[in-house]
């Protein structure tokens, strides 16, 4: 028996998650720049303001540190704020609030406090938006104990994981690749949450594991199609949450396939790909038949001009080449 489901865009799935959680729990509210009447600049939240009103869907001043700080205070005192950071690059303005306050208050207070705060931030290049509107900076928050980090790649994951994030009692970063907002996919009906810390095998395969996050999952799936034609069977594993990280599934997949490529849209150096690589070596050293290959964004500020920008973002062809070279 198949679950009832519908087709939703990634952005719609996000709105549904916020709306359902706001209906379910009166202390959930949404704030950010242009999130109310305009439904955010990507039009992801259209309708929320009409349904929940100005008290629960709040346009903020352009004061990222300030309103994230307010979110911390509200979360500490009984509310469950969901805060939007329009471009993930602006996370830089909020690091002190997130890292020195939100992430640590529970621990510093010896477990007295909790900070059920969800930050929705966009990420991803591809729109010719240049160096300050295209970054994927999720490595920073992944490095900080006390924060959780979610990287959905499909509408269903987005909805189920965002619902979990809002219900989670910890400060959680939910990164949305803005290039995926119009991506459609099946989303199960009903109040379905997806637990954190469970990687998802998006495609099974035998010869190589492609570990990918967020929109890079689709790059990996595209590469897997091409590889199939070359007779190479690729498994695509999506960790879905970086913190907590489902090391077991990653290690098991690579132990089976014996080869791996890691793809993430953050800058390549000192980023996500390094941690995933290290974790796999720690668990599957004896099984690996070739060095793991990392593919991140090129280590340059993201350029404006389209041909240059394209060169900095991991592409299917890069993955195909890496795999072909390691077989």
């Amino acid at each position: 028996m198949s679950m009832p489901e519908k087709q939703l865009k990634f952005g719609e799935a996000i709105k549904e998650a916020v709306a359902e959680e706001m209906r379910r729990d009166p202390v959930v509210f949404m704030m950010g720049e242009d999130v109310a009447a305009s439904g955010n600049i990507f039009k992801v939240l259209v309708g929320l303001y009409e349904e929940f009103g100005a008290e629960r869907v709040i346009d903020t001043p352009i004061s990222e540190a300030g309103f994230v700080g307010l979110g911390v205070g509200a979360a500490l005192t009984g509310m469950r704020p969901v805060i939007e950071i329009m471009f993930g690059d602006f996370i830089a303005l909020t690091m002190d609030q997130l890292v020195n306050q939100a992430a640590k208050i529970r621990y510093m207070s010896g477990g007295q406090a909790k900070v059920p705060l969800t930050i929705r931030a966009t990420m991803g290049a591809g729109r010719s938006s240049a160096a300050q509107h295209s970054q994927s900076l999720h490595a920073w928050t992944s490095h900080i104990p006390g924060l959780k980090v979610v990287m959905p790649s499909t509408p269903a994951d987005a909805k189920g994981l965002l619902k979990s994030a809002i219900r989670d009692d910890n400060p959680t970063l939910f990164y949305e690749d803005k290039m995926m907002y119009n991506l459609k996919g099946p989303v199960p009906d009903g109040d379905i949450t997806i637990p954190f810390g469970q990687a998802d095998i998006k495609r099974t395969g035998d010869d190589v594991t492609l570990m990918a996050t967020s929109s890079m999952v689709h790059v990996a799936l595209g590469a897997a199609d091409i590889l199939e034609q070359k007779g190479i069977s690729a498994e695509v594993v999506d960790p879905r949450t970086l913190v907590p990280l489902d090391k077991k599934t990653l290690v098991e997949s690579v132990s089976k396939t014996t080869r791996a490529v890691v793809i993430d849209e953050g800058y390549q150096s000192f980023g996500i790909t390094a941690e995933l690589t290290s974790v796999v070596y720690e668990g599957a050293f004896d099984f690996l038949e070739a060095p793991i290959v990392r593919i991140g964004a090129m280590d340059v500020p993201i350029p404006y001009s389209k041909p240059l920008e394209d060169a900095t973002i991991p592409q299917e062809q890069d993955v195909v080449e890496a795999v072909t070279a390691m077989m």
Binding site: S63, A65, G69, G73, M79, M108, S109
Partner: protein, 320 residues
């Protein structure tokens, strides 16, 4: 006096508890009984006590690195505070926070803070939360003159103003931020002026006078509870000791300056006023002094005897 005799004595007791507590902290530091450092509130007691005398247990405060006074004034337990400073598991934070992070969520003490200006967002967010939950709670944000130069201060004042939040910003202008004189890094006539462009009422009060602080707070809290929004109070005060327990505090300020301020001592001054008005007698004070002394020494003894956290504690409370 616009407070009754009982309350007057409570305010005296409150200030003295802070004073004596801080003196013991210095002793403990000097005796090598604490591993970190602490920032003493001695000289500034009138601010915390004047403000908190107006608050309920349900109201919120955010505190600073110089936070013991706020915590005591809001009702915090001396023994749990002392144990925390000594890193013991019986401390408010099980030894994980130390002096700069003491919190008692059950009393609305949302935490001392090691980040200068770290309380701005939290206090304003707590006020937002109170308003959204339709309680009549208010939030008080204590902060230093140095913190008034952190940009987030202005961001949250703007939010408090546009959303009409019940938050009161209490600046403790003690003339210095670490070793740097406030005047040398702080533009303008007074810090209170910084609230005005946002339409937030603000005033400068004598932070050595517990009654003046209280009265300004009464007004601000009444307005906030009546849904009339935020206020700011700048309390002009002084820290007698160095920036922290390890700083003699003499390199960057003169003995004369310190003595001038000590002459305005908030604890002694208040006692003199109470005696002068007949609010209490010497023997009333004697009884209070003894009780406070004992309470503080008991806190020290219990903290000394308290167990350290087990090493297994270290991984607990990272996540809820």
């Amino acid at each position: 006096m616009s407070v009754d005799d009982r309350l007057a004595m409570e305010m005296y007791r409150g200030m003295l508890r802070i004073r004596r507590f801080e003196e013991q902290i210095l002793n403990i530091y000097t005796a090598g009984l604490m591993d970190g450092i602490a920032h003493l509130y001695i000289g500034e007691e009138a601010v915390a006590v004047g403000v908190c005398s107006v608050l309920n247990d349900e109201d919120y405060i955010t505190s600073t690195h110089r936070g013991h006074g706020h915590c005591v004034a809001k009702g915090g337990r001396l023994d749990r505070m002392m144990a925390e400073v000594m890193g013991r598991v019986t401390g408010y934070c099980r030894g994980k926070g130390g002096s700069m992070h003491i919190a008692d969520m059950s009393l609305g003490i949302l935490g001392a803070n090691g980040i200068v200006g770290g309380g701005f967002g939290i206090a304003t967010g707590a006020a937002m939360s109170a308003k959204m939950r339709r309680t009549d709670q208010v939030a008080v944000c204590f902060f230093g003159d140095g913190a008034a130069n952190q940009g987030v201060f202005f961001e949250v004042m703007n939010c408090a103003a546009i959303w009409n939040l019940p938050v009161i910003y209490v600046c403790e202008n003690n003339q210095y931020g670490e070793h740097t004189a406030t005047d040398s890094v702080t533009a303008g006539e007074c810090i209170a002026d910084r609230a005005r462009p946002f339409g937030i009422p603000s005033e400068v009060v004598d932070g050595m006078d517990v009654l003046a602080v209280r009265e300004a707070t009464v007004e601000a809290v009444e307005r906030a509870r009546a849904g009339q929004g935020a206020a700011m109070i700048e309390c002009v005060t002084y820290r007698y000791r160095g920036h922290h327990v390890g700083d003699p505090g003499l390199a960057y300020r003169s003995k004369e300056e310190i003595d001038e301020w000590i002459a305005k001592d908030p604890v002694e001054g208040w006692k003199r006023r109470m005696l002068a008005t007949g609010a209490a007698t010497e023997s009333d004070f004697h009884a209070v002094d003894e009780a406070v002394e004992k309470e503080v020494l008991d806190a020290v003894e219990s903290a000394k005897a308290a167990p350290w956290p087990e090493v297994t504690e270290v991984r607990k409370h990272v996540y809820a």
